[in-house]
């Protein structure tokens, strides 16, 4: 090793220099390979930047969208390098990653930006470094397009002159006149074409009466449901009938399908004592053990009577 760094003649110096260069080249290659191995495996099929506006007044916010599509499902696109923005300021950043079944991953980043000063604003390409499995796992840099936007000076806000206003009104009037003439001409042409065509008639099938949607159930109707279920229970004292009463009471109280009694009671005001007691009685009658069932059913019927009376 010492010979490499302490040459004695010109030839030796040249040889030593070559060895040193080869060592350095080898080291750089090793570092590059190690870095390449750490890159994610991605096949990028789309990488683009689009701007919502091509010219925009200074200070007005608009959106710049970066779209990436990778063929890998649930791809890790965190290594995407955002573009440099000149004469623009970023106001917001929103990211959406959508894994698409059988079609890889879609990544959308929406930047909310605004122009800093009148002139030209540029957005340099965004890029992502990755090893592409479809190209033998070689490292690639996938780059997007660049975007150029014109930043206009802010409007002064002063009143337009009388001459400008007249010119503008004349321009609008002329445009409207040309448009009206064009519509009339187009109408005449279409009418002539329609007359030339032979008229055909199609026999339509008879219209079916439309089934009216059932009106939303009023509280009285919900109460009818409880009455009906309670009537069945008073005839047939069984757990199944108690469960029907419970369902009717839960519906009357506005329970969600996944809701249990505890969370339902949290929503029912304490002053509705009859309903709260009936719900508790129904819960007990539906789930109590067999020896205590008949007593629980009696309690439930009694509690339901109070609800109906209230």
């Amino acid at each position: 090793m010492l010979g490499i760094f302490l040459p004695t003649g010109t030839r030796e110096f040249t040889a030593a220099f070559k060895r040193l260069a080869a060592t350095a080249l080898f080291a750089v290659t090793c570092v590059a390979n190690a870095r390449a191995q750490s890159l994610p495996e991605l096949t990028i099929t789309a990488l683009s930047i689009t701007s919502q506006r091509t010219s925009v007044p200074e200070g007005e916010a608009f959106h710049v969208t970066i779209h990436v599509h990778a063929t890998q499902h649930d791809a890790d696109l965190s290594s995407l390098i955002l573009p440099d923005m000149r004469n623009l300021t970023i106001l917001g950043d929103e990211k959406h990653t959508t894994p698409i079944p059988k079609d890889g991953t879609d990544y959308l980043e929406v930047l909310t930006v605004a122009g800093v000063a009148p002139g030209t604003a540029t957005i340099s390409p965004a890029y992502i470094d990755a090893r592409d499995p479809s190209r033998g796992g070689k490292p690639f840099r996938f780059s997007s397009n660049s975007v150029r936007i014109t930043i206009l000076p802010q409007s002064s806000g002063s009143e337009p002159s009388w001459e400008d206003a007249t010119k503008r009104a004349l321009r609008i009037g002329a445009g409207a006149l040309i448009g009206a003439v064009a519509i009339v001409v187009l109408g005449l042409v279409l009418r002539a074409v329609g007359r030339a065509r032979r008229r055909t008639y199609v026999t339509l099938p008879p219209a079916r009466p439309v089934a009216a949607r059932p009106p939303p159930r009023a509280p009285d109707q919900e109460l009818d449901g409880i009455r009906q279920a309670a009537a069945h229970l008073s005839v047939e004292r069984s757990r199944a009938r108690a469960a029907d009463v419970r369902s009717a009471l839960f519906a009357y109280a506005g329970a969600r399908s996944d809701e249990t009694l505890a969370s339902l009671l949290e929503r029912i005001p304490p002053e509705r004592t009859a309903l709260r007691a009936a719900l508790r009685a129904a819960e007990r009658a539906t789930f109590v053990d067999e020896p205590h069932l008949q007593g629980a059913l009696e309690d439930l019927l009694d509690a339901v009577r109070h609800v109906i009376a209230a």
Binding site: T260, L261, A262, F287
Partner: protein, 311 residues
């Protein structure tokens, strides 16, 4: 006459302010003969909750601080040669107690964790040639701090399954924190002694065996467990492995214990619903996305449960 579990709850709540779900969870596990994994940030009374429960039932209490250099024999016990008698004598480890607090269980390597977890399953320990049964009741309350991952050994899913419940001890509310300052600001926290006896606990366990569970509630439990195995697209990305049938068995068992705690001899849908998240939290295998996207596990599991219509 047997004292009701409500008396034990009242005794523990003399020491623990708020945290009703945690206190109830520990009592339910005690009645169901299960073990509890307590997770939460430091300083939220995880250890105090375990100590207050042990004092209130009048049993023996041992605390084992898990460290990286802990050995299995430090937990289970060992045999020592007595030179005077010329025989080996057995020295039982701290695991031989009614309530064992395994503090920061994930600070020790798998070998040490296994020594405790095997004991939890078998309810006995083998020292040398002889097996020794643990006292009855025997309950392990293990704590874990989910914030410090450095120097920890995560419990594998199969070992976490040995715990009946995984309770998350959250920070108290402002009112609760004010009450803590008012009650204990002066010094040591007083612990309620012997509110119930070990015989009472054994009687509750017998009672829980006879609690009525309606067939439609069994269906509710099974549907809830299956919802974790067949998640839809949005939730499916977060679940690697759903809960096992053992989770269903345990949830049914715990629901019966909760019915006893509430003074009933029949299970209600509320019993199942209130214990579902704590029963499933450590039994469902989540993907890396839960950590990387900082998904709230509690809310994720709640969404699974909300898919299942209540009976």
């Amino acid at each position: 006459m047997t004292v009701r579990p409500g008396a034990l709850r009242a005794a523990v709540e003399q020491t623990i302010v708020g945290q009703r779900a945690v206190v109830d969870g520990m009592l339910v596990a005690l009645i169901a003969n299960g073990h509890v994994l307590l997770e939460g940030p430091p300083g939220v009374a995880k250890t105090l909750a375990a100590r207050s429960l042990a004092n209130a039932i009048g049993g023996t209490f041992r605390r084992i601080q898990f460290t990286p250099d802990l050995l299995p024999s430090d937990i289970v016990g060992t045999r020592i040669f007595d030179q005077r008698s010329g025989e080996f004598t057995t020295v039982r480890g701290p695991v031989f107690a009614n309530i064992v607090l395994a503090d920061e269980i994930n600070r020790s390597p798998a070998k040490v964790q296994s020594a405790l977890l095997e004991g939890m399953q078998e309810r006995q320990a083998t020292i040398g040639p002889q097996s020794f049964p643990f006292p009855n009741p025997f309950i392990v309350l293990a704590t874990m701090n989910p914030l410090d991952d450095d120097g920890t050994y995560a419990l594998p899913l199969a070992q976490r399954d040995r715990f009946a419940l995984n309770l998350y001890v959250d920070y108290p509310s402002r009112e609760e924190e004010l009450a803590i300052l008012e009650r204990f600001g002066g010094g040591d926290v007083p612990l309620q002694q012997d509110a119930v006896t070990l015989d009472d606990v054994r009687a509750w366990r017998d009672e829980a065996e006879g609690v009525h569970l309606e067939p439609r509630l069994r269906g509710y439990i099974v549907d809830m467990i299956r919802a974790t195995r067949e998640p839809d697209g949005a939730r499916g990305r977060y679940v690697e492995r759903g809960a096992s049938p053992r989770a269903a068995l345990m949830l049914a068992h715990l629901a019966k214990a909760r019915a006893v705690l509430e003074g009933r001899n029949y299970v209600l849908p509320d019993d199942i619903r209130s214990l579902a998240v704590a029963t499933l939290r450590h039994r469902v295998g989540f993907t890396y996305r839960v950590a990387s996207e900082r998904v709230n596990v509690q809310e994720l599991l709640e969404s699974f449960i909300a898919q299942v219509p209540a009976p």
